[in-house]
Amino acid sequence: MSMLLIGHVVFWLVYAAILFVWRKQRIFWPLLALALLLLFNQIFTPGFFDLEIRDGRLFGSRIDILQQSTKVMLLALGMALVIGTGGVDLSVGAIMAVAGAVMAQLVVMHQCSPTVAILAALGVALAAGALNGLLVASFGIQPIVATLILMVAGRGIAQLISDGQAIPFSNETLSFIGSGYFLGLPFALTIVLIMLGITCLFTRKTALGLFIESVGDNDTASRFSGINARLVKFCVYIFCGLCAGIAGIVSTSNISRADANYTGLYLELDAILAVVIGGTALTGGRFYLVGSLVGALLIQTLTTTMYARNVSADIAPVPKALVIIAVCLLQSEKVRRFFARLLPAKKQTG
């Protein structure tokens, strides 16, 4: 019991330290929102903060949240870059389904090795991303329309690949990817961290990040400054497709079943939401990778909270929406200034 208490204290101390270090950063607000949500659960949801170690693995609601949020986190990484250029990619959920179907079909029907199946799935996802990029960057179609095409057609393609039925499979390698553990934590989380590392490397150690933000903030001025805006846009859609492919592989492996109808369903919306909660404006410009991951965590924590508190799945979206509105308002300068004006007395004394 006392061990548990110490664990909680350590958790909150670390969290508080992170909040303090990033108190001036954009990421402070989503982190704060997540903290409030966790605090609510700490006080009101019994068992939420329980953490067990079994066979060298961690178990508990918080670990479940990490595992469940990996899909949206992966999508959010790609989506953050796309939104950074002022675009949006609605097709990521469908691309997940296509990638999952390709992988399962290759493993089950063609007895391919998991490596080949995964590479093929990623290849298809890259091609889907390239198609989006082509439509947006080369043909100048509005991103929301261009990616809507694959959003709608993608599930049909996935159905075609899987012959219209869900494909169950059993493969050790794949189930390790989907539900295995590494260093006591879900392996999928490792994939997220590797992808985060790669994305950070490519956007911050090269000038790609600057170009993405510049194109998103002012497309014309960027072109006049010699940036190849088309190429930048093309690349981010390809990358977004790749992230969706990985998310599709993780999601399909997790349930050992490729289901063209349900894999990644509505997750494009969660991904967009995660990016927005993370502080990136839908109009493009500055994008926040870690913020987007926190956004994904927040969304999953909300869902898990609803589940833990026995809120029926039918009405769960309502409180979820209220919390998300609150988070978005919290980030708005205008709203913060409004509240600051409401509390002048507090400001003087503080």
């Binding site: 150690k205 000038a207 600057l210 002012n218 001025a221 006049f224 400054s225 010699g226 500055r286």
Partner: protein
């Protein structure tokens, strides 16, 4: 002639500016009345007040003897005042007939009578001697035809006064001539026509009377025959005619020895509908000024040289080699830089820092992979903030928080960081305070001394005269003259702008 519209003492203020200040304006039936003035003179505001887009603050408008105060463009149309705007503001995806009758479709028990619409559209177009298929989508026709359709729409409501707001800005010469034929025809039918344009030749080709505005106030109303071009220009820019005529030669430094080989030269370079073919050579250490009224083709030349627009005639040489520049990236490879006229839309990246805005072009020319290290970025930013005197709390300040002059300096820094051989400056001093203006002019002089070639575009003739070794004068999208050394005076520039050309008046 019968007076059609008589406005007295019209005033209109906006929060920060008095756009119209007691302006009188009279249009008679059966005349073409040109409304002239520089940008911001109040032409658009006057038109918008007359057509009900804005409500006047003071004054009175009499139309055919009755006092009117239209509350909307529709109300103005009902009185008999119709307008054709600069940009065709029709709906491209609807048919020609639908566009002409939109919002006033003939109906029978609430159902649209398509036959009647087509018939009406055909009649309206026939009046303009235009015979086209009214069922086809509007966007399938050229801009000139679309302009005519807009005109037909304006005439469809038994208009007595027709206002044309820069109707010719996107038309070529032949199309302009076509439009003028129609205008003359309508005038002969007794319609009053108000014509707004930047093209002097067109004013003299088609108008009977000219009203000049400046800074929101009326300068005067003149019959065309009594207002020579030089006087018109003097009125527009607000200098007494005598002063314009007697303008003295400014003191000029002794012509320095310039290398004889140009850094860049173009021969017969042009683009249809944008700028007529021109020749230009610019040597290292030389400032070439482009002078001309707004819309005369100055920016078009800059865009062409920087590869924003592609030339469809002529050839360009850089350093003696024939090159093709068809994108800004290509221009940058040849060390050409371009600060645009529209800082906000085409220059700054508003939500990025000063540092990022400064390194942007240099980074773009290096490509994404060879990132400029943060240390180098900070050095660059600090150096230019100091060198150009950019007033900011620090390099991490967002550029959108700076004043116009400081934003302009950051954009200059962005291009100077790429160490260009040719710097194209389009209105670098527009909208910035006097101090910053002087600093930028000083900078131009020192860059020139260091051997940079500079193409300098400015609406302020004094600046062009002060800073340039050579000036190309433009009118109506055409280079109409070149002045060198001591020939460069404000008066010479204005004389060149005002000199009539046979082709222009033939329209």
């Amino acid at each position: 002639m019968r007076v059609l519209l008589e406005a007295r003492g019209l005033s209109k203020s906006f929060p920060s500016v008095r756009a119209l200040d007691g302006v009188d304006f009279t249009v008679r039936a059966g005349e073409v009345h040109a409304l002239m003035g520089e940008n911001g003179a109040g032409k658009s505001t006057l038109i918008k007040v007359l057509t009900g887009v804005y409500q006047r603050d003071a004054g009175d408008t009499q139309f055919e003897g009755k006092s009117i105060n239209p509350a909307s463009p529709r109300a103005a149309e009902a009185c008999g005042i119709s307008t054709v705007y600069q940009e065709v503001n029709l709906i491209p995806h609807l048919s020609v007939a639908e566009n002409i009758c939109l919002g006033r479709q003939p109906t029978r028990i609430g159902m649209i009578r398509w036959g009647a619409i087509r018939e009406r559209a055909r009649k309206a177009l026939a009046r303009l001697d235009l015979n086209i298929d009214v069922n086809r989508q509007l966007s399938s026709y050229s801009i000139a035809v679309q302009q005519m359709v807009a005109l037909a729409r304006a005439l469809d409501v038994s208009a007595k006064l027709l206002i044309l707001d820069e109707p010719t800005s996107s038309l070529d010469e032949r199309e302009v001539a076509e439009l003028f034929k129609v205008i003359s025809k309508l005038r002969d039918e007794g319609m009053g026509i108000v014509f707004v344009t930047h093209f002097l030749d067109q004013v003299y080709a088609v108008s009977d009377r000219i009203t000049v505005l400046r800074n929101g106030a009326l300068v005067g109303e003149y019959p065309v025959a009594e207002l020579p071009r030089l006087h018109l220009i003097a009125h527009m820019i607000g200098k007494p005619v005598e002063e314009v005529e007697a303008m003295s030669h400014p003191h000029r430094d002794e012509e320095e020895r310039l290398p004889s080989t140009p850094f860049m030269s173009v021969v017969n370079y042009g683009r249809t509908g944008s700028i007529q073919p021109f020749d230009l050579a610019i040597r290292p250490g030389e400032v070439v000024g482009l002078a001309g009224l707004l819309g005369s083709g100055r920016t078009e030349i800059a865009r062409l040289l920087f590869g924003v627009d592609k030339a469809d005639s002529g050839e360009m040489q850089v350093g003696g080699n024939v090159v093709r520049i068809n994108s800004p990236r290509a221009a940058m490879r040849y060390k050409i830089a371009f600060t645009t006229e529209d800082r906000k839309a085409q220059g700054i990246i508003p939500n990025l820092s000063i540092r990022e805005n400064i390194v942007l072009a240099l980074q773009a020319s290096r490509g994404a992979w060879r990132k400029i290290s943060r240390i180098k970025q900070d050095e660059l930013a600090d150096r230019f903030i100091k060198a150009l005197g950019i007033k900011t709390p620090g390099p991490e300040q967002l550029i959108k928080n700076l004043s116009g002059g400081n934003q302009q300096k950051v954009l200059l820094a962005r291009w100077l960081a790429t160490e260009p051989n040719l710097l194209i400056l389009d209105e670098p001093t527009r909208g910035i305070d006097v101090g910053a203006k002087a600093e930028i002019e000083k900078l131009i002089a020192s860059l020139r001394k260091d051997g940079m070639a500079i193409l300098f575009i400015s609406s302020e003739l004094e600046e062009v005269v002060r800073d340039s070794q050579r000036v190309l004068v433009l009118r109506d999208r055409k280079v109409v003259g070149e002045l060198i050394g001591d020939q460069i005076t404000e008066r010479a520039i204005m004389n060149t702008i005002a000199a009539p050309t046979p082709e222009g008046t033939a329209a």
